[in-house]
Structures are given as C-alpha cells and as structure tokens.
Amino acid sequence: MYLSSCLEQLKAQTMTAEPFARRDWMGLIARAPLTLLDAHWPDDAPAFTWLRAPEMGAMMVQGRAGAVGAAFNLGEVTVTRASVRLGCGTVGHALVQGRSPRKAERAALLDALLQTASGAALQTRVLAPLQDAERHQSEGRARRAAATKVDFFTLVRGEA
C-alpha cells in the first residue's frame, strides 16, 4: 500500500490544502506522549532506511528579559531526533520532546508517510486522535483554571 502511495506523492502535493500543515503535524507528534503514538500506530508501517538513527540530545530553551527584551538561556530540554527514508525516497524528520528513540523513529516515519498519498488517511487515523488528546488536556486545564478565577467585590467602608 505504502509503496504505491509513494508514487502518487506528487499528485497528493497538488491536491487541496490538508487540514494539518507539515510544521503542525511535526509539532503535534513531537509533543505527544509515546503511549498515545503507540496506541494509534498503523499496523502496516512500511520498511525504511535510516538517514539519521535516533539520537538523544538537548535543546537550549530561551526566554526574554521582561518577557519582551533580550533573549537569555533558561535551561535545556531533552529531545530525540531521527531521519528516515521510505522506499520511494520520501524523507521524514523528527525532533521530539524527551528521550525516546522509539518515539523519534515513529515520528520520523509518520512525517514521511504523511507526505505521501496515504497522508490524508493518516491525518484522520493518527493526527486527529493526537490533536483530540492535546485539546482535551488543554481544555481540562482551562476549565479548572476558570473555576479558580476570583470574582472581586468591594466592601463599602463605614456602612453597617
């Protein structure tokens, strides 16, 4: 399935805009917990070759003085990166949060597959649940935060 779909890659690229742009899916996958990636992993994932085997490392996170001023180094965050090539030549990259070669492998492979003609199906099958999970988590935080929002009322002095 995947090899033939690779051949249609060019065709896919000329189709109408996908709901997820590449930069968005790469970020979504990078931030997702590995358990979730595993849960939605396609069983028929194709063979690939490594362009860059998974490598653990760190990215320096920067902040800004006073939130808007000069950049400064806040501290590092662990990451893992990897790059793969499918049989058809499509290349996938990954830079994911945390130390997990398997997560980086899956992310790079997904990045490649999402660029092929089967990408549209994978958007529904993998990206949609990842996005739902992230949205659910974010909404939960927002709802709990909203419940702790303060409603001030001012006491009038000197009146009983």
């Binding site: 590449r22 930069r23 790469m26 970020g27 990078a30 931030r31 490598e55 653990m56 490392g57 760190a58 990215m59 320096m60 996170v61 920067q62 902040g63 800004r64 003085a65 006073g66 939130a67 808007v68 001023g69 000069a70 950049a71 400064f72 180094n73 806040l74 501290g75 590092e76 965050v77 662990t78 990451v79 990166r81 790059s83 990259h93 830079l95 994911v96 949060q97 945390g98 130390r99 974010s138 909404e139 939960g140 935080r141 927002a142 709802r143 709990r144 935060a145 909203a146 419940a147 702790t148 929002k149 303060v150 001030f152």
Partner: protein
C-alpha cells in the same frame, strides 16, 4: 592540596552497597516508582529540573530517587547527565504571553484583563497537617467552569503602553546564537543581564530567597510589587535547518514573575517604574519571585542607583555563590584527604612552639 591515596577500595564498595540498601529502606514497604515521584512529588521534580537546568521530569524523578530525596545531590546527578547530551541547538525565545495559564495573579491590579486565577496553590490553606493523606484518601475531582477564551496579556504591558514602565531593550532580531551561555564560557564580570538571568534561573532557591528577603529588609532596598505572577504551559519552538521552518517540538510548564519597582528617573529619563524579572522551569513561584527581586537588585548599576554594600546588588557576590553545585563541590572537597597539608601545618605549629619555648628558656 590533596593527594591521591590508594587503598580503601573494599570499604568504598561496601559503603556503596550499604547506601543502596539504605536507599531502599524497609523492604516490607513497597518500592517507590519513578512515576510516583514524578506525579506526586512534582514540585521537588520541578526544583531539580530548574536547578539542574534540564527539563525532563522522568530524569529528575529518577535523580530524586537515587539521591534519597536529597535535592542538591539530585541536581548534581542531572547536571552530570546533562554533560553527556549533545546540544542540537537553541529554541526561539518562548512567548510567555501565549502561555496557557493555570495560575495568574497580580498584586497591583485587581481587575486585570484576563482575570486573577488562583490555580493549584498552597495559598489560603491553613498549613495544618492533613492526616487523611496518610490514609491515601483520593481527592474529589477539581471543580470546573466554562473558560473565557481570549488572550491574557502581560499586566505590565498596560503600564508600558502608558510609558510608565521602562521598556526592555529592543529584542535581538532572533539571533539566538549570540546569547551568552555560562555553560559554555566562564563567567566574566561585569555580566550582561542575559547572563545574570541564566545564572539566577538555575541558582539555588534557598540562596535566592535569602538574598531577595535581604533586599526587602533594607540591604539594597528596592520596594517591589508583584505586578504579575503567572504559571502555565508554553510551547517551545525551534527552527529545523533541514526543513527551513519552525516546529513547536515541546511543551513545558514555566513560572514567570514580573515585579514593579520605583525608579526616581535620571537626567535622560523621566520618573518611571522598572522591572525585575523571574522565569523558572516548573511550578516554583517562591523561586520566580526571588529571582525577580534579585534581578532588579542587580540592575542597580545600570540604573545609576546608589550602591552600598548590599550583597544582593553585588553581581560578583551573587553570581559566584548562587550555584549550589559549584558551592557544594568546593565546600565538600574539604572532607577529602588533606593529610599532607595538615602534616605541614602540624609541623609548623610544633616548630613555632619549639621556637617560643627556646626563646623562653634563653630569657630565663
């Protein structure tokens, strides 16, 4: 001076064996899982990440387990591990204005746009021990309410819009490679503010707290209001060279504090407020507030304020002593064998006493 001493290998090995057994404690009590530490000792994990200068909750939890709960030892383990990781690059500076807020308070504006959100705070608790926790009681689910969507702008941006808050220096145009990094080059004085902020965010919380408190008590007095304290999740983006675009590859919890401090004005500038800034990994508002106070104290020179002998205003004093790994490294090295030094001192003292006794004899 300390010299290499051979011997004691068996004693060392057995000591480490005992350490492992002591770490485990009573085996009739279940072993503590790293995930339990990560989830239930989350603020200790946050502190280890902040002072270890590496964001990875699982690693920090493991370090706490290995260190038997000794936070500075856990920070040491994280710093040591960090040196084994290749650095792939730097992020784009995080946009704390886009933070997903879980807590946000202001001591200066009651009706700040976006509201005051208490979040999961110890404030207003009575600090009475809760014995139900000892019984493992499950908490009731947290209350929820419909969120009001919309941006939550930084409160101090309103003062800035009126020109009452000193503006930060124009940001560098995304040239993230020129940012000074104390993990790559030794500290030199005077240190630019970005370098000071890096040192402060990874500094020992207790040390910063004491220094910040000292400014409140009058040592480098600089009365601060907490203009805004916000805690929440931010996305971290980086430019991927292979692709030519940025991806939001991580999400991390940060605590940010901006203080409002008075400034009398100078010949070139009208009277206005100035800012102290704190930004720390995890949920750690004591540290973030302390950092903001000390950041503001360290700006005394650039703002042309009178500098007395307040420790918090002395950047060499603050930056040279704020790192708990450096401090404990030097402190604890004195327990290592100094047999030769001590023999030399002992010899000297004996000689002085002999000489003194000789003089006395001669005088008699």
């Amino acid at each position: 001076m300390y010299v290499a001493v051979k011997g004691g290998e068996r004693a060392i090995e057995n000591a480490h064996g005992w350490l492992a057994q002591a770490r485990r404690g009573d085996v009739s009590v279940p072993d503590l899982a790293v995930a339990q530490i990560r989830e239930q000792m989350a603020l200790a994990v946050d502190r280890v990440m902040a002072e270890g200068s590496l964001h990875d909750p699982d690693l920090a939890a493991l370090a706490l387990k290995q260190a038997r709960g000794d936070v500075i030892e856990a920070v040491f383990l994280i710093r040591a591990f960090r040196t084994t990781l290749p650095r792939f690059g730097a992020s784009v500076p995080v946009e704390t204005g886009d933070m997903q807020i879980i807590r946000r308070i202001s001591a200066t504006y009651k009706d700040a746009p976006g509201g005051q959100v208490l979040g999961p705070t110890f404030d207003y608790t009575h600090r009475l021990l809760d014995f139900d926790l000892a019984d493992g009681a499950a908490p009731a689910p947290a209350a929820e309410a419909p969120p009001t969507p919309g941006p939550v702008p930084h409160i101090l941006s309103h003062l800035g819009a009126e020109g009452l808050m000193q503006s930060e220096h124009a940001p560098d145009p995304g040239g993230t490679h020129d940012v000074p990094d104390l993990t790559r080059a030794p500290l030199e004085f005077p240190a630019a503010r970005p370098l000071r902020l890096q040192a402060l965010t990874r500094a020992d919380e207790g040390f910063l707290l004491s220094l910040a408190y000292s400014t409140q008590r009058g040592y480098g007095r600089n009365h601060a209001f907490v203009g805004e304290l916000r805690i929440g999740y931010v996305r971290v983006s980086a430019h991927v060279p292979e692709l030519g675009f940025e991806i939001e590859f991580a999400e991390i919890l940060l605590t940010e504090c901006e203080t409002v401090n008075q400034f009398q004005g100078a010949k070139s500038e009208p009277a206005q407020f100035t800012r102290g800034y704190g930004l720390v990994f995890g949920q750690s508002e004591r540290k973030a507030i302390s950092m903001a106070l000390v950041d503001r104290a360290l700006r005394a020179r650039e703002l042309g304020e009178d500098i007395g002998d307040a420790p918090a205003q002395d950047e060499e004093f603050v930056l040279s002593h704020c790192d708990n790994i450096q401090s404990s490294g030097f402190l604890e090295h004195i327990k290592l064998p100094h047999y030769v030094d001590f023999q030399a001192e002992l010899e000297l003292i004996r000689k002085l006493r002999r000489n003194a006794a000789g003089l006395q004899d001669a005088a008699e």
